[in-house]
């Protein structure tokens, strides 16, 4: 049994112009200790999927259908107070912008201690000792002094280290990291990714790493899920997806893999733009941009089809899928 399973997840937004489907029947799983990279252009539904998993969809967004299972137990329909014992404890989260993730009015130590004490029976003294340990672990110099400082006294990279410490502070089994380096200085992105990778492999923590940096994915992930317009285009082991991508969209993404930290030509290989939620074409959502589109692609929507080591939603692979 996988650590996390997502089955046919649908996330909707009721709006004045009707219900928008931001995530449309997504299925994926993450094994214990595994790093699943999730890539796709901005607006593909990566954050919505991550937020649904940690149970923090912002209203009016809601899970309309589907299931999310942790250790085989459904967690998508838990009341707030039950879900919050899972958040932080079983599933940690890291968000995009470290400059705004920390409460400006509390010291770093206070925020660590608060989180530790929420999930454990530690005394304040023990929790503080643990907080110091964590700061050392994430590589913050002079932790005895830094622990009593406020977020604004830390640089962006240092703050993201604190955020990582907060996400890891009670050893969750899964971390949902939503573009953890996008907001950071290019020169320190690689350091933060390396830190996250090292800590998670040391603790056996699984990671859902959302990013649109294919270079990061290639270096870090075990498997990759490629998202397009709220659906999954392709899932597979990182080697296969990077070297022998199946889905035409993934091919486009792989056009050139930028070196880690250089976000110069990220995802600019494919002509055109991802459709907005309000005008997703019938058939395959990628058909206006796809060089291999056929008449059938304009008419019928390809469902995700199993491959030997993942899934792909593209008519070109119907025959291959039939053999699996």
């Amino acid at each position: 049994m996988a650590l996390l399973e997502v089955h046919d997840l649908v996330v909707e937004f009721p709006t004045r112009r009707g219900v928008l489907t931001a995530v449309d029947e997504i299925s994926l799983h993450i094994d214990e200790g595994e790093v699943l990279g999730v890539v796709g252009e901005s607006g593909a539904g990566k954050s919505m999927t991550g937020n649904a998993i940690i149970g923090l969809l912002e209203p009016p967004g809601r899970i309309a259908r589907g299931e999310i299972l942790l250790d085989g137990r459904r967690i998508d329909n838990l009341p707030y107070d039950q879900m919050r014992t899972i958040r932080g404890k079983e599933i940690g989260a890291i968000f995009q912008d470290p400059l705004t993730s920390l409460n400006p009015l509390y010291t770093v130590g206070e925020q660590l201690v608060e989180t530790i004490q929420t999930h454990t029976d530690m005394t304040p003294t023990q929790a503080r000792a643990r907080a110091l340990e964590l700061l050392i672990e994430v590589g913050i110099p002079a932790p005895e002094r830094r622990v009593d400082q406020y977020p604004h006294q830390f640089s962006g990279g240092m703050r993201q280290r604190v955020v990582i410490a907060l996400a890891l502070c009670v050893n969750p089994r899964l971390i949902v990291a939503d573009e953890p380096t996008t907001a950071l200085d290019v020169s320190i992105q690689a350091q933060i990714i390396a830190l996250l990778k090292r800590l998670c492999s040391e603790h056996g923590t699984a990671v859902m790493l959302v990013t649109h940096d294919m270079g990061v994915i290639a270096e870090t992930a075990d498997r990759v899920a490629v998202m397009y317009a709220g659906r999954i285009a392709e899932v597979g082991p990182v080697k296969q997806v990077v070297k022998r991508a199946r889905h035409p969209y993934t091919h486009g993404l792989m056009g050139s893999i930028p070196v880690i930290g250089h976000d110069a030509d990220r995802l600019t290989q494919i002509e055109g733009a991802m459709p907005r939620l309000t005008d997703i074409p019938t058939g395959c959502a990628f058909n206006p941009r796809c060089p291999q589109a056929t008449d059938r692609c304009l008419r019928d929507r390809p469902e995700p089809m199993p491959t030997e080591d993942g899934q792909v939603a593209c008519w070109l692979f119907e025959k291959e899928a039939a053999h699996v």
Partner: protein
């Protein structure tokens, strides 16, 4: 910290000095003080003698110095109209105004903040909508109208509350308090609601919009992602972040409560400084006007100082740092 307080104190002294200058100019340029003091039958010679005795022929800076140094120790001269020391008259009426203002401020905070938090957290709840609608009334009706309506309802129709005055007061040294007797407390109800209602609705709406704003921030989402309880998120993290604007507005409003007490005091015939001031204007009783001006200024200065100190206590970003962000990465 100490440097910050010293800087604030120096600023305050400047403000007070300037207000004192304005108050002093009142004496010089609004009518002739001698005319105000004596009757028509007083001869020119007597007038000159009085002028000399009061030091009105001395050089301006000397007169001003005399004015501020005596004001600093609470001596504002003699009322033209009542022929009694102004400080004595103020001491007699100050407690009434301060008690009324303070109770109004406490009322508007103690009710406005929780109502604001509630309407912020339950934005679409029925009770929130009721609060918001009622608060519109509080903001749009003029103070005196609410006062008169309440007098009609509770004093005239139902006769459960007194329509005027402070009720029974107890003397604590020079301070007369209405807080220790039932009739004194009863008498406070309507005036303090009238005076505080506007501020209450203002604070409620402010807290509500700040809460809505803060609840959308990343650090609140991250606090939830860390598994903190609703209580910790709402009160520990969200409410505290709304406090800086709330402190600012409350400080400003406390000043205007004291200043606006004039209207409420008139409606309820409350024996406070507001009424004293109005009578003083009618009779061009300059010493009282000058003293009132100085006192209100002093209140504003003190409130501002307290507001700044509260900021300092609440928001670490405002504290002056020796060194910020160290290093990189």
């Amino acid at each position: 910290m100490a440097a910050f307080i010293v800087r604030r104190l120096i600023q305050s002294v400047f403000v007070m000095f300037f207000v004192a200058l304005v108050a002093f100019s009142l004496f010089r340029y609004v009518g002739d003080p001698i005319n105000q003091m004596v009757g028509v039958e007083t001869s020119l010679k007597e007038r000159d003698a009085l002028r000399e005795r009061l030091g009105l022929n001395d050089p301006m800076p000397e007169q001003f110095w005399r004015f501020i140094s005596s004001a600093a120790v609470g001596d504002f001269g003699i009322s033209y109209q009542h022929k009694r020391p102004v400080s004595e008259m103020i001491a007699l009426r100050l407690p009434a105004t301060l008690e009324l203002s303070l109770i109004s401020a406490i009322l508007s905070l103690a009710i406005g903040v929780p109502m604001g938090v509630y309407t912020g957290l339950h934005r679409d709840g029925l009770l929130s909508k009721v609060f918001m609608t009622v608060s519109l009334v509080g903001i749009s009706l003029p103070t005196f109208l609410i006062g008169i309506l309440m007098i009609y309802l509770f004093a005239v129709k139902m006769t459960i509350l007194p329509s005027f005055g402070r009720g029974e007061v107890i003397q604590l040294g020079w301070w007369s308090t209405g807080l220790l007797t039932t009739s004194g407390l009863k008498a406070l109800i309507m005036p303090s609601i009238t005076l505080g209602l506007f501020q209450l609705t203002l604070i409620m709406r402010l807290v509500r919009s700040e809460m809505l704003e803060v609840l959308r921030t990343d650090y609140i989402k991250f606090a939830r992602a860390r598994g903190l309880s609703n209580r910790a998120v709402h009160f520990g993290h969200a409410l505290k972040n709304t406090m800086v604007p709330v402190i600012t507005i409350t400080g400003l409003q406390l000043g205007s409560i004291i200043a606006f007490a004039i209207i409420t005091e008139t409606v309820f015939q409350w024996p406070g400084m507001g009424k004293l001031f109005i009578l003083a204007i009618e009779n061009v009783d300059i010493p009282i006007m000058a003293a009132y001006l100085l006192m209100i200024a002093l209140f504003f200065v003190i409130i501002n100082l307290v507001v700044d100190l509260l900021y300092y206590a609440v928001d670490p970003r405002l504290r002056i740092e020796s060194g910020t962000a160290h290093g990189h990465g």
